[in-house]
Amino acid sequence: MGNEKVRLVYRIKAMDLANAGAASSHVKSELQKYGIEEEVVKRVGIICFEAEMNMILYSVGGKLKVEANSNSVEIFAEDNGPGIEDLEKAMQPGYSTAPPWAQDYGFGAGMGFPNMKQNSDVFEVESAPGVGTKIHAIIYRRKENEAK
């Protein structure tokens, strides 16, 4: 293991609460199969889960892509809109636009972006109202990369 490349792609449907988290859970078990370190897998799982939930709750749907190699794991989450009006606010811990019904499901802590950022080594968000949101996160695998 280690030198193989992993590439996983999932289509995330808007409002698909029944399957919410299924992609992230699958990512986790796949990465474990490839022998990726437990701590890295957990961080990837958290980022994927938050990204997946955001797409389900707030977007018209999108794609979640995970690529792993011997150095790092990269996550790409891209949706087709409607985009985030105030990205700076969305990055603030506790800020949420979740409707009350979503809170009954345990959503709306306002910790989505902060959790993603917290678990990434590189974290980038691009969002344009009316167009969509793109998230890119990189997690370095410690053994090969002692940078941190």
């Binding site: 609460l17 029944a18 919410a20 988290g21 299924a22 992230s24 859970s25 986790k28 957990k42 961080r43 799982g45 958290i46 994927c48 889960f49 938050e50 939930m53 990055m91 603030q92 811990p93 506790g94 800020y95 809170q103 499901y105 345990g106 959503f107 709306g108 802590a109 306002g110 910790m111 989505g112 902060p114 959790n115 917290q118 678990n119």
Partner: protein, 131 residues
């Protein structure tokens, strides 16, 4: 505490993961918001919650949560029960409140977990390690 003892002490009913009754639970955490649970990455702690949707099982899978306790008599959704059975993660239902459940576990030696608090407001990047 073994899951078996927890079930007994909180008058609980285990609905999945019955093969894991002898698993030892050392730490616990209570939250009703999934992202608050996800902010907890430090250790494998059991979750005491009122969330009844299937997403909580996914979160448990991602974080290796060894046990989910659904408190205050809340009934899990069908989807949660199915997901729990498929994943094999133990889910225990109790009539007791989150507060009482936590109290019982705490008095029996289950410890709190270290958490990272992400500060809101002006300095959004501050991260405190709290014991």
């Amino acid at each position: 505490m073994k899951i078996r003892e927890i079930v007994e002490k909180i008058d609980g009913k285990i609905i999945s993961g019955q093969d894991k009754l002898d698993v030892e639970v050392e730490r616990g955490f209570a939250a009703d918001l999934l992202s608050d649970v996800l902010a907890l990455t430090e250790e494998k702690a059991c979750l005491i919650t009122g969330i009844t949707g299937p997403q909580v099982i996914r979160v448990a899978e991602v974080l290796d949560i060894p046990l989910i306790i659904i408190a205050r008599g809340k009934q899990p959704s069908k989807a949660l029960v199915e997901a729990a059975k498929l994943s094999g993660i133990p889910v225990v239902l109790t009539q007791k409140t989150v507060f009482e459940t936590c109290g019982i576990l705490y008095t029996n030696g289950v410890k709190p977990c270290k958490i990272k608090i992400l500060q809101g407001g002006e300095d959004t990047n501050t991260c405190l390690n709290v014991d």
